[in-house]
Symmetry: D4
Subunit: 216 residues, 8 copies
């Protein structure tokens, strides 16, 4: 499996990662939040109880790629991680839709690409760096925000490739689910997943890292 | 799989089941709480999105088997379930340890057996009825409360057998985990599991019901 | 104009109407909430200060058409209104999407039609009775929930016609707006409008009732 | 219309402008409060959905003209606005009535005039700068506070003229309303308007800026 | 002095009397509120420490004369008072101004007169019954609400006379104060007095009952 | 009267003066608290409405004379008062009784005298400076804390004389009241007066400053 | 020792007994509060861990002897206690001091005696019934409330004797402590003890019941 | 006895000592918390009322020995104590069990020994310095966390000996209790004692310091 015993694994991101990480309680793990990071940790601890993986949630609600880049040295590099997951971009997009009159809150594709690239550059010494695509829980690919989200995900895929880092297509995971079931109920705003969406993201991460134990 | 499309599945129990079911939000499912019931629902929805399973959390914090029996007709039978899971007994035991001077709060083995039996009798028309053992997250089998808990679990197993109903040994699941990792961090009081314990219980239930989809 | 001096005008509905009606403060009007009812009242008072229109908000959050019908006599008829607006149905639909496994929370088209018809029948003596269509703030007409919402709106239109009562197509109002601007920002869940959606609804109502004063 | 696509429009003022701007939610517009600024934004977005107007609420509760002037560079100029609305003065007046023994809280006419003039001078490069008169929701022009308010409004009108900037007489708008309807209910203290007063102010602003779309 | 040692003295009224009577603390007197009743009690206890006067605050916020009459038997007569003060009517008036479209909330002069008269009739066995005029803290006698308030006060005076009970003109007390000082600061809404208004009312009551001790 | 129109009058002290001065509302006077300072202001405004007295509450809960002295320049002198009232000392005493093992919280007589003297020296340019004695609402002069309080009051009287400043014996005022009525009910802890005690202190201050208007 | 293994021991009383019994947490004992009952339980459990004493706190804040008598059957007799402690009377007394004008809140000596006697009569079948004197934490025996408290304690002693039940003189315990240390700090109001007073009461109870284990 | 009149006695530690020391109320002693420190103070004050012992609670929740050492100069030495009690180490241990993947939160035996030794070295001038063993309220000596706790206690004993300071074996006190009674109910997490555990610790301290007064 990708993770080694004793690894420090950081999840960088926005509110989809953060999920109230200040408030989570229990399991002897500090500040993991209530979302996909928590669920990944739960799987790893329940299925690999003999290993020690130090998962650290570094999501900050509201962050766009510019803000994440600004805190990268302090919040990511300084912690000297073995593995970094980076899921960012939905706020770069969202503000273009919910605050169209405030362009200073919009991160356009070029800057997004540059920001991601800098994150990857700053992380050259990180053993494993995995990009997780931004996603929008809307099945209709013609929806304007979904479309833009796909465009940003494509940018992330390109940056990942350029830097020889893996890219996990979370949007594709949701699309599979949405073939069978309405997205209503997955989320209020199609951006923040509830429990089932957290499971969908966690599953994709577990597969990517080579989770290799049977469910039972 | 045990569950059929459209089944109503009730989880009867105490605070281990309840887990704040009033407060849970999201996924379009009402009152599932934040514990193993929620996790079972999350697995089922994420992996069987094309089916409809109506999970209902009927745990009540603080309940012992006497109190659960008292509300059985109103809270379980009246909802006409297809499947019932029943996990009860830890409060029957716990009060003998934390309130030794209050015998009216203790449910002794004979009454426990009779209470369980009545629940099973009242549920003859329920298609599937599964007992889930009470458990104590303590590896030392000589610990007094663990010992008593094992005794009560044995009673439950006997009642299950007598009524030809399956019995899932949740304690055994925790014991396997505890071979590899300390129980400290699983719980504050060794009674109420955090996330990882919820996963351990959910996994046992999923296996019991014949969950048959691959993790990836 | 449709309203006469001294009229009592009731708005029957769900949370889209309710909008926290317990908490609203000011303007000497009690319990109007913070949504479209409040805005209609604000327009009427600011533009027709010499008339007295007694607007009453009778929305109840979470109501479907079955629940609204149950309280119709007590909450609507008993107040002896001159005019009734009735906007209901989104919860009839929504639960089919966010709680698909709980069919007892779904109001299917036949019952919806019957419920609306009974409301109209019970209101024969009300001078003016106006149906306001349910709506979903999603531009894509192929979206599953939008589609069902259009189907329910068509039912309402049919019931209105059968009872010789006007029908206001609120969905059409939103569609016009959505031609120019994304719906993101209009609402979190595409069901509950913020300020701008309240304006869109209020405008449709004002036009329907023949608001006849110039803006300046 | 006065506003151009992409304009940044700042509303400078006191609590009449502020209206809890920290707390407002929705419509993808941040910190607009619940008063006239919000309503202007609602009108503009609902009626001109194809344009982008960046409205910014810079009211601070309790401010008099001295305090607004002190923060002018930081809060107004630094944001480089295209349009500024400035409604200030009621606290300059009010403290003379409710804290007569605290003269250091009173801003007398000469200072008020100087303060306004400095604001206008500092805003020479702002394309459009509009003064909005302070007002007191009292019909009786002989009322002492109304009288002083009229005096301060006259000063503002003079400063506006001297600087070749428009002046909107909000007091006159309220006076028209008060011919038909008591001011009781418009406000508790005749200073802070509820919904209807917000509509009256917003209407005056919309007319001033040449709002040119039909209501329906 | 009017009060005898051991008298029970009830203050019947609305929010002007109530003043949060549930919450008041201290002085060993229960539920006196923070307004004029409290101040009367403070004067009596400080200046006549050797006597025992049982003051009871029976104000209920929001009450009009109809509502006070409805609870008269239960709240006033049943307590068998020696003295009753009755200050009521401002809500009878106020709703005509702040809720003009809700006539069922308006108590018109004829009903007001009848209500007061019934209160007096029901209190024939009360040794002392004193009417306290409603008042509006507005100096301008041409103000519409002030005018109506004067009309209602005149009705109260007439009812008092008919029943041979004293009438205290509280409005006249405020008018004297308003000759010297603005009413702004006395109250936010001109209905609910702060500390100084409480002093003005208390002083009028003390004079009426023949307070006969020197201030020093 | 001692106060002149326009005077600034500061009340320096501890919690007996402070009385929650942050929270008080109304009467257009800011931060007067709910105790004797408020009541003095209420009397002055109600009886001398034509004059302007700027009362400022500078009590700080918990202060002893050492702490008051430390903030004297900043809180008293810097405000350039015309009149200062100084009531301090009860915490100097109280800690000797309720925290006998913490001598660093005790202010002994010599330091108390020096502290008071310094306050008087620092206030040479203040037109009127009045000492108000500390007091303990206990009639029994042999009570240990009462005794010590009398000793400290005697020190204050001596300092007042030495500096040619008046001294008001508040303890004597309470003693008069306690001849007629139990102190129970005046206060919970015999240190913090409720309403009646505030009246007793206010009365003494009013007499000292030559209040010269009739009560009616 | 007086208590036998398995005894149910009830503490009947007012707020001195109650001490927030709803809120106490821990030690597996439900609703013991934070006062002397808790401390007695702590001693018994720590020193006699092999026995089971079921202590039940039945204090109700604010109760006087009339109110305690009214609930005696329901709250005491119905629980079938082996031992009852009864400490009541301070509110019978206190209201005479802090609410002198409200005689219906005063329980005079004759009624107090009758109430106590009825409690004793109703408890004839209780194996052990112990009266605990009311007390006032004031050393001065000439203090009016102390004096009355001594009078009521003497009545209790008489009732105890008449019914052949023991009487514990709690006041005497406090008097011993007060010889060495001021009562200030024991309590704010001399009625409700803090920790040290709880220890003083608990010690007297332990001695009375024949606590017979060494401290170490 | 070990303590002399006027001694300052500091309790250094973690949450077992802290016990909410900010919030404690009463007894004129500031910040003692609700645990064993409070109980030691209560015993000392109730039994030695003529002496003055200044107990100071310097526990900080969550502290391990590294953190306590970091604040030693500021929090302990700077207060110039006569006596210091030092109970630390459970968090050094606990994190190894509940956060096994976060080794930077683990204090291993060597560092623990060095930290304790430095505390002792820094306290050479303190007249009496007493180590109190960390403890785990678990009777089973084979339990992993209990075992490690015994190991750390042995280290503390060794450091105490090396520095010629007494060592109190608190674990042994709990072991005695646990022979007779289950530890369930003593604590939720076996780390933080409730009332009875506080008594057990306080008793050991009192014995160590030579408490020499009879219980009665």
């Amino acid at each position: 499996m990708l993770f080694k015993d004793g690894d420090r694994i950081i999840f960088a991101g926005d509110s989809v990662t953060d999920t109230g990480r200040e408030n989570a309680l229990g399991d002897g793990d500090y500040g993991l939040g209530n979302g996909y990071v928590r669920l990944v940790n739960t799987f790893l601890t329940a299925y690999y109880p003999e290993y020690r993986y130090d998962l650290v949630n570094m999501g900050v609600s509201g962050n766009n790629s510019r803000q994440l880049l600004e805190r990268w040295d302090r919040d990511i590099t300084a912690l000297d991680p073995d593995v970094v997951f980076c899921m960012i971009g939905i706020n770069d997009i969202w503000r273009q839709f919910d605050a169209p009159a405030k362009p200073y809150k919009h991160i356009l594709p070029d800057e997004y690409e540059a920001n991601l690239d800098q994150m990857a550059q700053k992380s050259k010494n990180v053993r494993d760096f995995i990009f997780l695509s931004p996603f929008f829980m809307e099945a209709n690919k013609e929806d304007a925000m979904r479309k833009m989200c796909d465009e940003y995900a494509a940018i992330m895929r390109r940056v990942a490739k350029k830097n020889n880092r893996p890219f996990v297509d979370i949007q594709a995971e949701f699309d599979k689910f949405l073939q069978h079931r309405s997205g209503i109920g997955l989320s209020w705003d199609r951006v923040h997943p509830f429990y089932i969406g957290a499971m969908i993201i966690a599953r994709a991460i577990l597969r990517e890292i080579g989770f290799d134990r049977p469910l039972f």
